[in-house]
Symmetry: C2
Subunit: 238 residues, 2 copies
């Protein structure tokens, strides 16, 4: 004996109210249970389209320039730094060091002055600026030795910071264009720290606040296809 | 008139079955809705304790050595690479390049031979080895110029890869201890790529499979307190 369901095609399934509720329920279960990711959904976000079913967070995060300028609560600032703190690093050396300044605080001017004029135009409305530096030496068996992966490790910490900011409804953009030697003097950065980036942390604002040329660029960037980035066995030659 | 609830203290609330169900429901809502993070929960995981309410993912991810050796499906391999692909980078230069080998494939021996003996002991049961390299030059206005943040950017891609692996129930560990010049020759790595790490990707196995000295170390590592990593305004001197 055939059950009635065995003769039901996909379109009929979707047309049945009971099946639709069941499908919605199953979908919700799959979406909400972190141990059972939906391996078939290809997330999209604001013009970005994933080619493989990544966690949506990775395509929802982008490096905004339009911020409200509102004060950042400690609950947000320390939580994004906490996410960075748990990043992996070579030999668990944790070379990342963070120096932060709240917008309008006594130190804000010294931080803001480090940025190149092009970045100052939008970073004026960041809630905090965070200098990320990395230790160029590390302890091994009680001796200071040259660290080989400090910049790489600092980049891992930065990614975790940026993802956590996005999860809190805030956003972060890393700025490579800043005056490094001036930063070292102005902020008392020890000689054995390498200056990596200044991170602007802010609450996203409408892009309309930006000057016209920046407004035009205020959108998530695209990426090269995976086929141009990943290869099996040996690098393609030529 | 006082409602009976106004005279109910916290312990009485917990003792009331109806309130307990309500509390459980409210907790579940808060936990499941990604737009309303629970800002008061301090996640714990396997000996790790967060000091600020980060997304649990950041403390749940750790760099395991014990893997099953089972084949990694393309759905997992390409999804972790896809997460890396969406990392932020200086000027969106995307300097990361990935070269992978499946355990037991024709190229596996060439990859495995690059690892130092200490890492070979456990990496033999990784499902794939992934060489992560970064472009040391970038295009700016049609000209190749020296890239200044390629290692930092590659580190951001690595963090996203590792977090995505954890989300899929897989795990990744970055290996700095490998023979870089040998890798360049054996795998045809172009001169303008810098060799960053070899990533072991695998499905977590029980630690009991490891040799005794590695078994002892098979646990999530701790971190320095945030008070040793982050400062306001100016680096502490001395």
């Amino acid at each position: 004996m055939h059950s009635p369901l065995s003769q039901t095609g996909p379109s009929q399934l979707l047309a049945s109210p009971r099946s639709a509720w069941f499908a919605a329920f199953a979908w919700a279960l799959g979406s909400l249970n972190p141990s059972r990711p939906n391996m078939t959904a290809l997330p999209r976000s604001a013009g970005r389209q994933a080619d493989h079913p990544v966690d949506p967070l990775f395509i929802e995060r982008w490096s905004r320039r339009a911020y409200t300028g509102e004060p950042v609560p400690d609950a947000v600032l320390f939580t994004v730094l906490e996410a960075a703190r748990w990043a992996p690093s070579g030999g668990n050396s944790q070379p990342w060091r963070f120096l932060y300044s709240h917008r309008g605080s006594a130190s804000w001017g010294a931080f803001f002055d480090l940025l190149l004029p092009g970045n100052q135009r939008w970073a004026a409305y960041a809630s905090a600026l965070i200098l990320l530096a990395s230790e160029t030496t590390r302890l091994r068996d009680g001796q200071r030795v040259k660290a080989t992966s400090h910049s790489f490790d600092a980049g891992a910490a930065w990614a975790q910071l940026a993802l956590q900011a996005e999860k809190l409804g805030w956003s972060a953009r890393a700025i490579g264009g800043f005056e490094k030697e001036k930063a070292r003097l102005a902020l008392g950065v020890p000689d054995d720290l390498s200056l990596e980036v200044v991170i602007a942390l802010g609450k996203p604002a409408g892009a309309a606040m930006l000057p016209a040329d920046l407004l035009e660029k205020e959108a998530p960037t695209s990426r090269l296809p995976l086929s141009a980035l990943a290869f099996e066995g040996r690098f393609p030659q030529g």
